[in-house]
Amino acid sequence: MPTKDCRGEKCPRESKPNVLKNPVNRFAPILLPAATAAIFLLIWHLLVRLSGSDLFPTPLDVARGIQELVEKGLLLKYIVASLFRVSWGFMLAVLVGVPLGLILGWFRPAFQALNPMIQILRPISPIAWIPVAILWFGIADSAPVFLIFLASVFPITVSSMAAVQNMQLVYLRAAQNFGVTGMQLFRRVIFPAALPQIITGIRIALGIAWLVVVAAEMIAVNSGLGYLIIDARNAGKRYDLVVAGMVMIGLIGLVLDLLIRRLERFDEVKWGYGQR
């Protein structure tokens, strides 16, 4: 981390560079992506029109599809169902993955015993687990929760493990110097030192968890955004609803990422993300 040294040492808290001065800059973070989206929608619309296909929907068809879902009250239901499964699967993955990763990162024998197993299980796509999930859990909410758990637990475990292994030795030595050992060492030093990297892993895992929701809901659950897509395929020529499901998944994914990014702003972990 680059050090800013202030002469005379009474260094004031760093102030953020003032981007608010220029009005163009102020709106750029909103205008630029909005412009990109508008161009994208326009190209989409034109391509559908030019192709002459009446199967693939235009952006307007999709908007009407979303409106229809809202009017039927389905959209909220489906979003809630998907968020419910992702929330539980993901939270369980955090509760299992972080402690497991910390243990694997710290205790060498645990690492040697379990790491090969984890590396074997990790690359297996959650889709491959679908039959197993149905056989074990039936098709109630527990099966998709299990699939989302599987998809997110490995990135969390591996990043927590790496976080401990990459921890700066100086923190450990300082702590040992003060006579801190055992659980105290874990709680007061190893965990907080690893936390920024753990949070990065958690963020990536949340993205994956959300990504898996469509696959997880292909199992015959009867709600959710993934189900919306499968259901729309059943319903004949309702590809507007298929794309509507995709759009909603994308938008909610964006919101989830923005939310989880807020974790990185906490004082305890801000140090781990360099200068922003």
Binding site: I219, A220, N234
Partner: protein, 356 residues
């Protein structure tokens, strides 16, 4: 630490909030319980697909609700055969509508499955793109045909049609595809012909790009693709319930074939409450022509199954001779003539009431 406590607090709050909302919106936790009804979890589940071969499943559910106030079972809709089969294997659905050859194959592999009743007769077709030059079976030489599953009767149907045309399976290319994906595949000409249960065949016709090459009734009269099957333990432990189930399904079939009004009503309420399709599709399938799919004469008959067995053996779907008496239990409806239609007057021109 502030981060940890805040995250845990907000996370726990979020979990409670989303669980309660989900419970309210999707699981109906807080819906007032009508006296005498049981929660959905207490009923046994039946697996089905949104195809006309399984139509008696939602029809029975709907009529039970209308006539008796509640259904005896919980219909569970799947999108593909593998999931439907796995849910049955896991015991999640102790009863299921399933492909007849798939039931035979499962029995052969040691799964305690018992076929108790037929789902339908006929109700399948082979569709080609209307722009194509395919008018006879022989024109399919070297072409790609989509069937739902290797265990599907549609595949056997193609085998039979090939035989009648003095062709073999080497002359064509067979691919497996979930029925809901077939219309789009035919539209984009990714395949040259498709064959699955209705209404996916009729859909291509309605949307103006599919043409019937032949209906099943033309090639294989009284064709059976799907059957109602239950777990053997279900019969052992609760014969009475299975009897009620089969009676209900049989009465629904009879009801469907009593008048065209009944069929049109079924098209409406099944489309709206179960299949989430446009009613026009089912109306089309169930009426044009009226014998496109039939729901009477559904008692199990040995010769029908022996015909399927022979084709299945030939197609390599089953490995050895399976025994009719082993994989079926025909005792629930020994005689079709005894089956009575549900005493349900239909929608009487009214709106479709929502499923409870």
């Amino acid at each position: 630490m502030k981060l940890i406590s805040t995250t845990f607090l907000l996370g726990a709050l979020w979990l409670v909030l989303i669980s309660v909302t989900h419970g309210h919106l999707n699981l109906k936790w807080f819906a007032p319980k009508v006296a005498g009804t049981t929660a959905a979890g207490d009923k046994f589940r039946i697996g089905f697909l949104p195809v006309t071969c399984h139509l008696t499943c939602p029809v029975t559910d709907f009529i039970n609700q209308q006539v008796e106030g509640q259904s005896m079972f919980e219909p569970v809709r799947f999108s593909g055969w593998p999931e439907l089969k796995e849910a049955f294997l896991s015991g999640y659905t102790p009863a299921t509508f399933i492909l007849a050859p798939m039931a035979m194959a499962l029995r052969e592999q040691g799964v305690p499955i018992k076929v108790v009743y037929l789902g339908h007769r006929d109700g399948s077709a082979v569709m080609v793109h209307k722009d194509s030059q395919i008018y006879r079976m022989e024109d399919l030489r070297g072409k790609r045909i989509a069937v739902p599953n290797r265990y599907s009767n549609q595949r056997l149907l193609v085998f039979r049609a090939l035989k009648q045309a003095n062709m073999t399976v080497q002359d064509i290319e067979l691919v497996e595809m979930p029925p809901p994906d077939m219309p789009a595949a035919l539209y984009s000409k990714a395949v040259d012909a498709i064959s699955s249960g209705e209404p996916f065949m009729a859909q291509t016709e309605l949307d103006g790009y599919g043409r019937v090459l032949w209906l099943t009734k033309d090639v294989w009269p009284n064709f059976i693709s799907c059957v109602l099957a239950v777990h053997e333990d279900f019969i052992k432990n609760d014969r009475e319930t299975v009897q009620r189930l089969v009676d209900g399904i049989a009465s629904s079939g009879k009801w469907l074939d009593t008048t065209m009004e009944n069929r049109m009503d079924a098209a409406k309420f099944v489309s709206k409450n179960y299949y989430n399709q446009h009613p026009r599709l089912l109306e089309f399938v169930l009426s044009k022509p009226p014998d496109r799919v039939k729901y009477t004469n559904l008692a199990l008959r040995k010769p029908d199954f022996e015909e399927i067995e022979a084709l299945a053996l030939q197609a390599g779907v089953i490995q050895k001779d399976v025994i009719f008496e082993d994989y079926t239990d025909a005792s629930f409806v020994p005689d079709d003539s005894a089956v009575k239609a549900h005493a349900y007057q239909g929608l009487q021109g009214g709106e479709v009431p929502p499923r409870k």
